[in-house]
Symmetry: C2
Subunit: 354 residues, 2 copies
């Protein structure tokens, strides 16, 4: 048997998803004229001509409804029969995700016949899921609202959910529990909802009219990329330095050659000088530096080898400088990701108290 | 009813996954001493004491087998009864992924009683899934080997799969199809298997003894982060610049103030001067620059506003300099990701011909 495209997206000549859905509800595939016109327009904008197989993206079972896709050409599909609903979405994460949390969620909310569900997410850093589970064990056993932890890389999301006719009614159930969780976990809760640690920091720096620079070695630009992932970050982030070699640490950031010789590239004094250098160079209020060993093998450098996972975070601020010694285990990707999160947490700790 | 942790990881006091699996196969939960000792050791290394609930990570149905987790404390679980297999894994992507492609795949291969499956993945950039589907439609209809496309952000993976007793036998079936695909898609296939575009570039530069620097505006460090995600990249990548403000483009990279005034920060001449400046500053053989508008709103700057999604990629090389005008649509994240992929593709095009 011929198999359907495993990613299930529309434009394949061999994609059987639409056909399978149509057949299962006893309908024919038709060409949706509005989708077809939209596709012609989108392809036209990019100076592309559409092939015949690409028009198959516009096909749907006759009773189906196309779901707009803001990040790609292929629309999704929603069909309903006898109170059974089938959704089909393009596979790429960047298209699938926004469609799921946008139009699909809206349709599901509409379908939901009882009282709608209301959720609030508290974002927690610096405490493991296990410890959170212990501290909140009573709350997590409750049935209304439910409190559920979701482990993410470097953080945990706590979702408080209840069923209520109105937002106000939901808030009355959720608020006291959120307050209780705040009193138990304290400043480990850094934000609510969709706000990331980087977003919180950019917002906080913007509010204060402060600026920040980055100086990265082992994270190679990930910290700068995380901060600049936030719209509006250009107001607070003028420049970042990826100083991967010892020479560039000296040349770009003014790290003393004597410091590098005496302590090496992965060391407290080097991390501090990187942060201080970035702050001076970019003329910012704050600077964060990260230097460490993300590779699987230890770094062999004078005066002593540095173990894989050893990371230093330096912070230069108007109130003075600090350095943090950390140790992570795991793959290169994990060590780098956790180093970035750790750096953002340390910066947050400082922004909270000053 | 009390609900289980939705992320399904072990350390929760309220996690019901293990218990549910044990009950469904009619067994008791027992404490696995080897896992328990491993946990004590791991927590000890981090200077942490284990709580009672954390020891529940070491529980398993009596006939179950723990699956090692190289990137976290909680092990996975494999149980088998009457030829039915149940796997349970920790939820975080960084832990789940490596366990799935490592130990779980190995167990599944062992379970597989017929001839094992053999796959080869060809990685394609610069052609849409739809066009690939059209060009390879005959091959995609074949049953042995099967050819299936997987759409990823900015690239498509083509997986050729067959069932064969030995690797040699599989190669005899897969090779002619892979060759046929290569002759159809040509240089759009940039690598086989797990090798990313960044890995290909780092490997190619290493082989030639060449170095590279980056100069980024709208991608804010993502390009540098992508290159340095590859182990061994420090040999070819000494430094990168994130010059987010106009001032830093001038100060760090020597972009002429007159160029910035005349053309703006998002323009061909600026992209070229950024690349040339980074190459000179970092004393590398190559440099790539990216400047563009990743935000949802157009950039208002003299001499003219620049549309959201407009991106310029500059490349400075021993053979001369080039600049590429691109336009992406989608969210900030998508524009940035696609800009990085486009920059890597342009660099690859140059490395192939020189």
């Amino acid at each position: 048997m011929k198999s359907s495209s495993p990613s299930g997206t529309w434009p394949h000549p061999d994609d059987l998803t639409r056909l399978a859905i149509a057949q299962s509800i006893g309908e024919e595939l038709i060409l949706d004229e509005s989708v077809k016109n939209h596709l012609i327009e989108e392809y036209g904008k990019r100076g592309l001509k559409m092939s015949d197989s690409q028009f198959r993206q516009a096909e749907r079972p006759s009773s189906g409804t196309p779901i707009p896709n803001p990040n790609g050409t292929a629309p999704g599909l929603h069909t309903a029969k006898d109170n059974h609903h089938v959704f089909a979405l393009p596979g790429p994460k960047n298209e699938f995700g926004p469609m799921l949390t946008g139009p699909i969620k809206a349709i599901l909310d509409q379908i939901h016949t009882g009282k709608p569900l209301h959720s609030r997410t508290l974002r927690v850093v610096g405490i493991s899921e296990a410890i959170i589970g212990e501290k909140l064990s009573t709350l997590m056993e409750a049935e209304n609202p439910t409190v559920a932890p979701y482990a993410k890389t470097g953080e945990v999301h706590l979702r408080i959910t209840t069923s209520a006719a109105t937002t106000k009614e939901a808030d009355e159930i959720i608020n006291p529990i959120a307050d209780q969780i705040r009193s138990i976990l304290g400043s480990a809760i850094y934000a609510e909802g969709e706000e990331s640690l980087a977003a919180w920091i950019i917002q906080e720096l913007t509010r204060r009219g402060h600026t920040i620079a980055t100086a990265e070695s082992c994270t190679g630009g990930l910290l700068a990329a995380e901060l600049t992932s936030i719209d509006g970050s250009s107001k607070v982030f003028p420049a970042g330095f990826v100083t991967y070699s010892a020479e560039s640490k000296n040349r770009e950031l003014g790290v003393d050659l004597e410091t590098l010789r005496t302590f090496g590239t992965v060391a407290e004094p080097t991390a501090i000088e990187m942060a201080v250098g970035a702050r001076e160079r970019a003329q910012t209020d704050f600077a964060i530096s990260i230097t460490g060993v993300a590779g699987a093998a230890p770094l062999v450098e004078p005066p002593s080898p540095k173990a894989s996972g050893l990371v230093f975070v330096g912070i230069a601020s108007p109130q003075g400088n600090s350095v943090h010694r950390l140790h992570f285990r795991g793959s290169r990707e994990i060590i780098r990701t956790r180093a970035v999160i750790a750096a953002l947490i340390r910066l947050r700790d400082i922004l909270i108290v000053i």
